[in-house]
């Protein structure tokens, strides 16, 4: 049984709510990062409040949150999570954010997603993983396609920022196609 948390650039791990909260306070300052990762309005929560959010979430049996650390420097660069929408349908949402902007566009994010998808399929035994992204985030689209996600839909004018309405894409990956791609590789 290999170490399913470890890739070639990053590893998924768990950090204390204190460590993550401190990191999020730092990353929340970068609103470009926030607006690429999240549709909710950018907000600056206190470290205390973020710690509360994380602890509350950790209590939920359907939430699986990981911290992302680089292998070379063991640097904490972001977080990735799975939120199981339905156990009966074996379907989960995936969300990722890379807080450290100098680690964008270098494959760290897509590998973290790949590791989370692997966890969903071979450890949680789910059937599919779903994610959403903003149409104005082409870098994310490329990263998800690299992992094997397929475009499933476009929600028109889902959000608005700076007076402009933007679309959101929804992508999914099925266990069967993921397994087949692994066989082929």
């Amino acid at each position: 049984m290999k170490d399913i948390y470890r890739g070639s650039l990053v590893r998924l791990c768990i950090e204390s709510p204190e460590v993550m909260a401190k990191a999020f306070v730092k990353w929340d300052r970068d609103t470009e990062q926030h607006r690429l990762a999240d549709s909710d309005p950018a907000q600056l929560w206190s470290e205390k409040k973020i710690k509360e959010f994380i602890e509350k979430d950790s209590d939920k049996p359907q939430a699986f949150r990981f911290a992302i650390r680089t292998l070379t420097e063991d640097k904490l660069i972001g977080g990735v999570g799975l939120w199981v929408a339905s156990w009966t349908h074996a379907d989960t949402w995936l969300g990722i954010s890379i807080g450290e902007r100098d680690h964008w566009g270098k494959g760290y994010g897509s590998e973290a997603v790949a590791l989370a998808v692997q966890y969903a399929f071979i450890e949680l035994n789910l059937r599919r993983v779903t994610l959403g992204l903003h149409a104005y985030n082409p870098r994310a689209l490329k990263a998800y396609e690299k992992v094997g996600f397929k475009m499933e839909g476009r929600v028109r004018c889902e959000g608005q920022r700076d007076g402009v309405r933007y679309d959101c894409f929804y992508m999914g990956i099925l266990r069967d196609e993921w397994l087949a791609a692994r066989e082929a590789a």
Partner: protein, 193 residues
């Protein structure tokens, strides 16, 4: 125009930051002992608060933000040393009609009248219109607050309401003035069409 790159919370000398429950209660407690500041900031009677009482207020603000979703509160920090200088908020948001009320205050006398208020208001307006997508914002100012009156006028707010003699302070009766700014007006002024 959708502009993801320009930071929402950073200006030249000031930035917006979160509440720091460890260090801010003591600073804010000092401000509450400055009745001049409190009378500019608040309509209710001045009341000095202990750091513990301020801390409770901060907890209630974050609880409110979490549950109500119609308050967005920020601390104003100095870019140089991150020191707490004031507070800024969009509150009483009525989502169906797209309205919000603005609050803005710089705590220490030495930090006022040097342009920090303008920088903070510019950030707050971009947030209200560009991130919360409000249709219009309102600011309520007592007639004796010349600094605030000038600031909102400078930003193109329109005086909309004057509640005659609505405040009684220092044995004198004052009007309560409401200023309003529409998103369309703000976009036109800033060439953001």
């Amino acid at each position: 125009m959708l502009d993801i790159q320009t930071q929402l919370f950073e200006a030249k000398d000031v930035r917006f930051g979160p509440i720091d429950h460890e260090t801010h209660p003591e600073i804010e407690s000092r401000w509450t002992h400055d009745a001049e500041f409190m009378r500019l900031m608040e309509l209710k009677p001045v009341r000095p608060l202990s750091p513990a009482q301020v801390k409770k207020q901060y907890e209630s603000i974050e609880k409110d933000m979490e549950e109500g979703k119609n308050l967005f509160y920020f601390t104003i920090r100095a870019v140089t040393d991150d020191r707490l200088m004031g507070k800024a908020a969009v509150e009483w948001i009525d989502w169906t009609n797209g309205n919000g009320f603005l609050r803005l205050g710089i705590g220490a006398e030495a930090d006022r009248r040097v342009g920090y208020g303008s920088q903070a208001l510019a950030l707050l307006l971009r947030y209200a219109f560009g991130e919360l997508n409000l249709y219009r914002v309102t600011a309520v100012v007592p007639a004796y607050n010349d600094g605030a009156l000038r600031l909102f006028q400078k930003f193109g707010f329109v005086e909309e309401i004057r509640r005659r003699q609505a405040l009684n302070r220092d044995g004198q009766l004052w009007d309560l003035v409401s200023f309003g700014l529409l998103q369309s007006e703000w976009r036109e002024q800033n060439g953001r069409g």
